[in-house]
Amino acid sequence: MSEERINTVARPIIYLATFLLIGIPLIYPVGLPIKVSQSTIDFYNQIESMPEGSVVIMNFNVETFGWDELESQLVSITKHLISRPVKVIYVSDMALGPAFIEKTLKMASPQIEKHNKEYGQDYVIAGYLAGESAVAAIASDFHKLISVDYYGHSIEGTFLDDVKDGSDIDLVISVDCFGGTSPYIRHFYLSFGTPILTGTLGGGVPSAINNVQVGQIKSYLGGIPGGAEFEYLSGFPGVGITSSDAMTIVHLMGIALIILGNIVLLSRKIGGRV
């Protein structure tokens, strides 16, 4: 069979197999066990250890393409923060980010009601921050850049009155599509020693591990598995846990395809066709 023929036949089969191997476990969950990794435990413990009244910046470095992978992290972290006695400033360094902040808070609205969280007293959507210069600006003088919230309302009278600069921020959590954590490392961790947590897409995990080893960030969540582990640990099951079966199964298929592809290539090399 020619290589072109193999590609023509194999591609649709692989697409169909991928769709089925993802779709079936989503409709009929297998219930494969979830082992919570140390990084997720550290992430959880860092939030749990924040004393009452701590101020947390939660950065949504999220674009449309990353939402599906980061949804489980964003929603479970937000729900967990709401359940804790901390005050949260929601920001985004992506133009599309504020839409996802609103969407996430809407999904977490039962928790907001349950814990009697009030906009302005417990959380504020500060909205869009245009790039690293904006992060540097809020670290040096918060009110110089932000005088109104995302909806254009004055932030006077909110808990932000007590936030003067980066030294008043007790924790930064950045969930990233495009390395949104780096400016916070540079302007919060290096200047004030603020602990930083990050959530990343699967592709960002190696960099996050490096940052943890260097000590710049406390811990990380990686992709859907990280989101699923955090959902499990924090007791807010969601889309991560329902997707974890599909993730495991489709990974096995990927590994099988890589092995199969290498066997085909090897046999062709032996047969002198490559």
Partner: protein, 233 residues
């Protein structure tokens, strides 16, 4: 349920599935229209957010008496001179100022975060008392030195240097493998998220219906050679 939410949900299903028509391998108008619709909506949204940002962080404080945003607003206005052939050169001033500020802000700290602290991390004991930690430290030290020597081009690679550079080369391959695996997980994560969206109980029938209609249309148009005809120019 709100009618608008239902309509938005149906449109989201249609957009997702029209994007996946690219898997057919045929250039087709459904994919192109979905692409243009995405670009259009993202540009629209980003423009509104950017305008609000200028109003909230620049114009409003100015009207309240704060003069700090004035310089930024003037530089921002100067950017628009790019559209003029005669005064286009003026736009270079705000661009160079913003590049300078950006570089200054980053370089002030990047030397610590991306250079000194990274080097500090590689200064570690070879034996920690725990075999696994010691092995990890040894791997980090050896691969770091070997990889740096791999990029050392001033001396011809022969003898021990050649061997160490080869270790560096393999370390890079292993790192590439790690990044590939992480990206593999990420890409499937995105796909799982989309399929989860399509197979949600309230969208499953819509997804199935739209899939069948798209498939029939694609095959019909392919058979009648009309795929190209409806492609946007």
């Amino acid at each position: 349920m709100d009618v608008l939410v239902v309509i938005a949900s149906i449109l989201a299903v249609i957009s997702t599935l029209t994007y996946y028509t690219t898997l057919s391998g045929w250039p087709n108008p459904f994919y192109s229209y979905a692409e243009y619709a995405y670009l259009g909506s993202v540009m629209g949204w980003s423009t509104v957010i950017a305008l609000n940002y200028i109003i909230d962080r620049g114009v409003t404080p100015l009207t309240q008496g704060a003069l700090t945003p004035l310089g930024g607003l003037i530089l921002g206005i100067l950017m628009w001179t790019r559209f003029s052939k005669k005064y286009g050169y003026i736009a270079r001033i705000p661009i160079s100022i913003s590049v300078g500020i950006g570089l200054g802000l980053t370089l002030r700290t990047v030397i610590f975060s991306d250079f000194i602290q990274q080097i500090q991390r590689t200064i570690m004991p070879v034996w920690t008392g725990e075999p696994i930690n010691s092995f990890n430290n040894l791997v980090t030290i050896v691969s770091m030195i070997a990889t740096m020597l791999f990029f050392f081009f001033s001396i011809e690679r022969k003898g021990p240097l050649k061997g160490i550079a080869e270790i560096g080369e393999y370390s890079i391959f292993i790192a590439f493998g790690t990044y590939f695996a992480a990206n593999f997980m990420g890409r499937f994560g995105l796909l799982i998220g989309r399929i989860n969206f399509l197979l949600a109980p309230d969208k499953m029938i819509t997804s199935l219906t739209v899939s069948i209609i798209l498939l029939i249309l694609l095959i019909l148009m392919k058979k009648t050679n009309t795929l190209e005809k409806f492609m946007p120019e």
